[in-house]
Amino acid sequence: MEMTDDQILSLLQTEENYEKGFRVLMEAYQERLYWHIRKMVHQHDDANDVIQNTFIKVYRSIGKFEGKSKLYTWLYRIATNESITFLNKKKKKATSSIDDEDANLSNRLKADEYFDGDEIQYQLQLALETLPEKQKMVFNMRYFDEVSYADMSEILETSVGALKASYHHASKKIEAFLKASVDG
């Protein structure tokens, strides 16, 4: 039987049940968080590193969770921050130009054994790559993860109005990219 967030949190409050509670928490949220991270970093190996870092951070700081927000929005926020940190580090290491980066993503997706998309899904990933990081995140969370604007507002610490505008812009840009690739 699936545990509620309150049940998980009460397990985490006792030392003898801490590991059990943490395991239940991971099993409950690992897939959602993994896919959230994966859509940002693309490669499975990178997503694996980021989700491990995310849960290690959760393990060490769950005691600081005050329950002011939902558990899952708190977890999403940590995963988002870890992903952004990872991407920034990666960008600092990269010496190639933006054009090269696009070509790299294209090649990486084609060579990735864990990417099984058809042409339109492949084009969608290329279109997403043209968006600013935060816009890409908003689109992914809304389109794929079906996150409400209220929860997204907690996770990204941005107003609902700004998120709606961001989703609108992202959708329009992706539409234009996909239409151009179909026509081209």
Binding site: R23, M26, W35, H44, Y143
Partner: protein
């Protein structure tokens, strides 16, 4: 209206084209990945893993900055000076006279690598000399404790031995534990 419908309607208003595609994520994970992930994470946060990351040892402040000086202080000053002079010496200095050339050539021959080769050649020459002086010598003939019979036994001409053969032979001798006295005797 549930959230799924709400999101679909929203997208249909913004971009009917995109709403019509109904795309799914095309990313996959290795088989069994999510079943194994919790164990992998619990392992990395176990007390043992924590200890590995921070074993509890520390060093005094600025220890690594001062370590090279501490080590250099403990090395004999003469040795340091010699080492520094050796490193600072130009790789190849032009000879000032023919005498310098001769001295350099001799010094070159006394480098360990060439000295060993010369010793090997000396051994063979002495053995050859004894062999020619006494062709009837028995198979028990030894030179400073070193058995040279295999040459005769297998019909090997000493002159045919290359530098590499001599090196190889000497390595065998050293591997068998030739004593300093034997070596001096050979030389």
């Amino acid at each position: 209206m549930n959230r799924k419908e709400e999101i679909r309607n929203e997208l249909a208003e913004i971009s009917p084209f995109l709403a019509g595609l109904n795309l799914q994520s095309a990313f996959k994970v290795p088989k069994g990945y999510f079943a194994e992930l919790p164990d992998a994470i619990l392992e990395s946060v176990s007390p043992l893993a924590e200890l590995k990351r921070a074993p509890g040892f520390s060093v005094p402040k600025n220890y690594f900055e001062s370590l090279p000086d501490l080590v250099l202080d403990r090395v004999a000053p003469k040795q340091v000076t010699e080492t520094v002079a050796e490193v600072a010496k130009p790789a190849a200095t032009p000879s000032s006279s023919w005498l310098d050339d001769v001295i350099n050539s001799i010094a070159f021959l006394f480098q360990p690598r060439y000295a060993l080769r010369l010793a090997g050649v000396a051994v063979l020459l002495v053995a050859g000399f004894f062999f020619l002086q006494n062709p009837d010598s028995s198979s028990e003939g030894t030179l400073a404790g070193t058995d040279l019979d295999p040459f005769e036994e297998y019909g090997i001409n000493i002159d045919d031995l290359s530098d590499e053969d001599v090196d190889f032979m000497l390595e065998d001798l050293f591997a068998e534990g030739i004593s300093d006295e034997d070596l001096e005797g050979l030389l």
